[in-house]
């Protein structure tokens, strides 16, 4: 026991100086979920599989919502998305001061009523709405 006491006296402290010192994460660490809206087809598989009911998909208005406080970062949505729009990386969420629901909306393309086929179709405009804070 005395040897342990001497070793502890002479070594540096075992606690990490949070928040100045960053934690060391591993490559498989589950940090947070990211969503890319350009390939999403709003099929709703991610919303059905989510165990915590954190994702809401509305096909009619092309909206994809994620409630970041309900998400348990299990990775089911990442594995099941058919278009691979959802990814997970190893940096954890930082703490915030209010509850956030992140909403992504895709504006539908305008129908072109024009018989002239040399005119190209207009591209889809992706619009990310402001983060709605409650």
């Amino acid at each position: 026991m005395l040897k342990l006491v001497w070793k502890n006296l002479l070594n540096k402290p075992a606690t990490r100086l949070y928040p100045v010192a960053k934690e060391n994460t591993f490559e498989r660490t589950r940090g947070r979920i990211f969503f890319e809206e350009k390939d999403c087809i709003y099929c709703g598989i991610c919303a059905r599989k989510c165990p915590a009911d954190a994702i809401k998909v509305t096909r009619a208005s092309n909206t994809w919502e994620l409630d970041t406080l309900r998400c348990i970062i299990c990775g089911e949505c990442v594995n099941d998305c058919p278009k691979k729009c959802i990814t997970m990386n190893s940096r954890r969420r930082s703490s915030g001061s209010n509850k956030k629901v992140i909403t992504f909306t895709k504006v539908k393309e305008e129908p072109i009523i024009n018989k002239d086929t040399s005119i190209k179709k207009e591209p889809i405009i992706n619009k990310k709405t402001a983060v709605k804070e409650e």
């Binding site: 026991m1 075992a14 498989r28 660490t29 589950r30 165990p51 990775g75």
Partner: protein, 358 residues
Amino acid sequence: MARTTIPFGPQHPVLPEPIQLKLVLDDDIVVEAIPSIGYVHRGLEKLAEIKDLHQTVYIVERVCGICSFMHSMAYVRGIEELMGMQIPDRAEYLRVIWAEIGRIQSHLLWLGLIADAFGFESLFMETWKDREKILDLMEMTTGNRVIISANKIGGTTKDMTEEHFTSILNTMNFIEDKLKGVDKVFLNDYTVKKRLVGVGVLTKSDAEDLCCVGPTARASGIKYDLRKTGYSAYKYLDFEPLVDSQGDCYARTVVRVNEIHQSIDLIRQAISKIPKGDIAVPFKGVVTGDVISRLEQPRGEVIYYIKANGTKNLSRLKIRTPTFANIPSILKMAPGSQLADIPILILTVDPCISCTER
């Protein structure tokens, strides 16, 4: 002096989770203990009837934070038995490695709590500092430290590489080295022995009558370890249940300290024998019927009763956790002991109240 009744809990600095014991005292000696539970009931068994089969794996993991991997292992083993699935050998070995790492971190947590219960705070900090290395192993292989979500119906979700195995073996060497110093304090120190030896004796016949499970029963001389029935990959590994015959708090400490060394040995055997192959088989079809699945958790034997009726939700999920079987032994040991020994008595059966009241 007349008898007084004082409430011990539900809020008490020494208890990890809320349980209430009303103690009837005669001067300083406890005459009777009346328990009352229900402070952390969350209704998880009902939630399993609403979510579908695959989402229930995540619910069942969150029944307890310390023995969380083995809850999910018992659930998926029950469903796999109902469907007649044969899962690959590599998945069985991976489950055993994670289960034994979970057992080591649970016993190290308990050693820290018992040191805190008799006031030896620096030993508590020292034990939990070593436990951090084990939690780092969990994070390196699966992504989370405590609730690891590594099981799914049909196998495991993640695989381990050769580098992971090397890291695990290095950490096992490190833990064995550190435990040489810490074990000496728990088993040989004069003040520790004064608090533990002869306190809370549970005889072998009492332990059999009250149906105790786990290290509580093994410390009273009952040689019963459910891992010897050979479920999962335990049939390929070589070990014997550890027993002690004294039945007091010191014997329960000795059994748990030796179980850490036994788990280190089991992990080394499993890593040397693990075969190559797939880690999961696909899930096809519907589930009907009912099944009972039993496992050895760090605290004893857990029993899962699963009843399915062909839809995607279960019809009933019932869990009998080991602490529920061990609580009557606290009520048997308490009469006759002093008031200052009650925290030690409660902690030596290793109560996990969130398991008990899902």
